[in-house]
Homo-oligomer: 362 residues x 2
């Protein structure tokens, strides 16, 4: 293997022991419940109202894929992934109050993440994203300083909640400045969904909440952030958008048009919204060629990076098969009509450059 | 001009006199208010809660563009549009109760639409979409029969409300069968938006409700409709999606993946959701090349058709300029890297074929 052919997964989650312990102690969602039967896995309920739906109330089994670094490495081996940039899964610790206890937990989570990345059995194949105690901007800025000093950390993962008022909350601006100053990347990931009208007639389980609510949430939060003018004030802010930006590459033209026709909104920005959208990074977790083609048509494909969303969307059939969700993302990249050097970039080289990763020797 | 080079606008609205009169009489949204100053235009407030927003509460001026067939023709001449397939604007008459009075209004609206299309000054350049009294399935089926008998009608325009329970309401199935039997096309158009979380910090006017709420609504409603299995039961149902399908061409892969990973949902369908999505028609009202490229990569581009959304998104500068909103859609189609015969199809020939339109001799 040369550096020209590497596979880097920048969208892959882990449930650290400290986080599972927190979720076990909780009495409302997000929470981890005991096994339904003895000898089975614990169960994770994370999405809002998931505990209320007939088909979702029992949650997902929390297998070793969720927390065991050896399972992460086995998954990487199975799919020829050289490096993974791991991050805590949603909803992180957004729901905790701004207390010393929360700050301490963030600190322990990040140290634990760093330790996992430094575990000798990983042979340098893991890097990490930090977690912030977002209910406090001050606490988060302090944690950013600590994360920046951890050798294998490359960014921070964030939802769209901010301190409770969304990403365009002016109170967050010092945090964005601190993140930009340390050259960390924000990995922006949905969790809360968008309040879709009652499903009424169709029992779609949580398939539509995941398929649509997640990308709608990312789209709306980033559109608001852009309209706040943050990128005119903090132009160096680097944001990686989950799921190829939700729907932003597709809707950018409509957003530009609607903003241009509302001069009171347009006049607050130095550029049309798509100008800022074209500066962001996009994962390639979109599961079909059209999505990759659209994203690569919208932004410079050197800003796109492969991801898996592991441990979610495991194979339905056998435990040993390659994961369909991974293969659909890989084949979408290969079959999007891009030249081989662009494909190599999306698969790994872009991530090496953007996150300053070192490819371990084999 | 030959039939190879024609421009057909299949997304263009008109406020018929009977509809304006209805909106004038109403005391809540949607409604038409008197001019703010004598000699000015009346004002239209259509979107939910638009009357409550500081920047939107005064509505849009209802100029002759909204109702005068001569203005429609002048707009068409200005942009070299040969044929327009006109439709009533949202929210149609969804909000009226299932009474004889409502059925009679639907009938009068459709006769009025047909009459406008037959007006000698149009020289055969207009075709129409009918309006249904959707609060009653029976009343709507009866109206479909009448619309099918009107010589210049080619379809029906519908929102996502159905009879109040969405498009996947089983009660609507006989209506879908009647529409399919008469070979009419449903023009599916958003109105209600999606309940986006409070905008909080960013005063975006209604720019994001239009830019995002509209396409999210279309996406969610059609995803639900597909999961209901309607296209397995009424495979001949023809639906044209406004705004290039909202976000469906971009999200189809994620929808397939999320549905496949929820076997209880997947097992109700004969095919993955994208199979059905690829059978629908898509307008090309998406305002940038990426949107056209993505839609053309997702569906056979012979299912795509040019549109303008007239009289909305008028030019901001002078009254005489070509409309930026129209030109951005035209240049998106021209610059999407499609071959000339594909472009000609999207600009007009597809609409001639799909709607069985006759190009007037000049």
């Amino acid at each position: 293997m040369t550096q020209d052919k590497c596979l880097v997964d920048i969208h892959t989650h882990v449930y650290l022991p400290e986080y599972l312990e927190l979720l076990r102690q909780r009495e409302k969602v997000p929470r981890v419940l005991p096994p339904l039967e003895e000898g089975e896995d614990e169960r994770l309920i994370i999405l809002p109202d998931e505990d209320k739906g007939e088909s979702t109330k029992n949650g997902r089994p929390v297998g070793p894929d969720y927390y065991d670094v050896r399972e992460k490495l086995a998954f990487m081996d199975k799919h020829d992934i050289d490096i993974s940039v791991i991050s805590l899964a949603n909803p992180w610790i957004d729901f905790l109050p701004p207390t010393e206890e929360t700050f301490d937990l963030a600190r322990r989570l990040n140290v634990s993440m760093e330790k996992m990345c430094q575990d000798p059995i990983t042979h340098g194949r893991l890097y990490g994203m930090g977690t912030l105690p977002l209910s406090s901007v001050e606490g988060s800025i302090a944690e950013v300083e600590r994360i920046a000093a951890l050798p294998r950390m490359r960014g921070v993962i964030m939802g769209t909640f901010g301190c409770g008022k969304g990403l365009d909350d002016p109170a967050l601006e010092p945090l964005y400045q601190a993140i930009a100053k340390h050259n960390l990347v924000i990995f922006l990931h949905p969790h809360y969904g968008v309040n879709l009208p009652a499903s009424g007639n169709t029992d779609a389980g949580h398939s539509l909440a995941l398929a649509l609510g997640f990308p709608f949430e990312t789209t709306y939060a980033i559109a608001r952030l852009i309209l706040s003018g943050i990128f005119d004030r903090v132009p160096d802010l680097k944001i990686l958008l989950a799921h190829s930006g939700g729907t932003l590459p597709f809707l950018a033209g409509r957003i530009d048009s609607c903003v241009a026709h509302d001069p009171a909104v347009a006049s607050k920005l130095n550029h049309p919204p798509s100008y800022y959208l074209k500066k962001l990074y996009y994962d390639a977790v979109i599961y079909h060629e059209t999505g990759v083609k659209a994203t690569a048509a919208f932004v410079d494909p050197s800003q796109m990076m492969f991801g898996t969303d592991h441990p979610f969307f495991p194979p339905l059939e056998t435990k040993d098969a390659r994961w369909m969700s991974v293969d659909s993302n890989l084949s979408a990249i290969s079959n999007a009509g891009l030249d081989s050097s662009t494909v190599e970039g999306i698969l790994g080289k872009n991530a090496l450059r953007i996150f300053n990763l070192e490819l371990p020797s084999k």
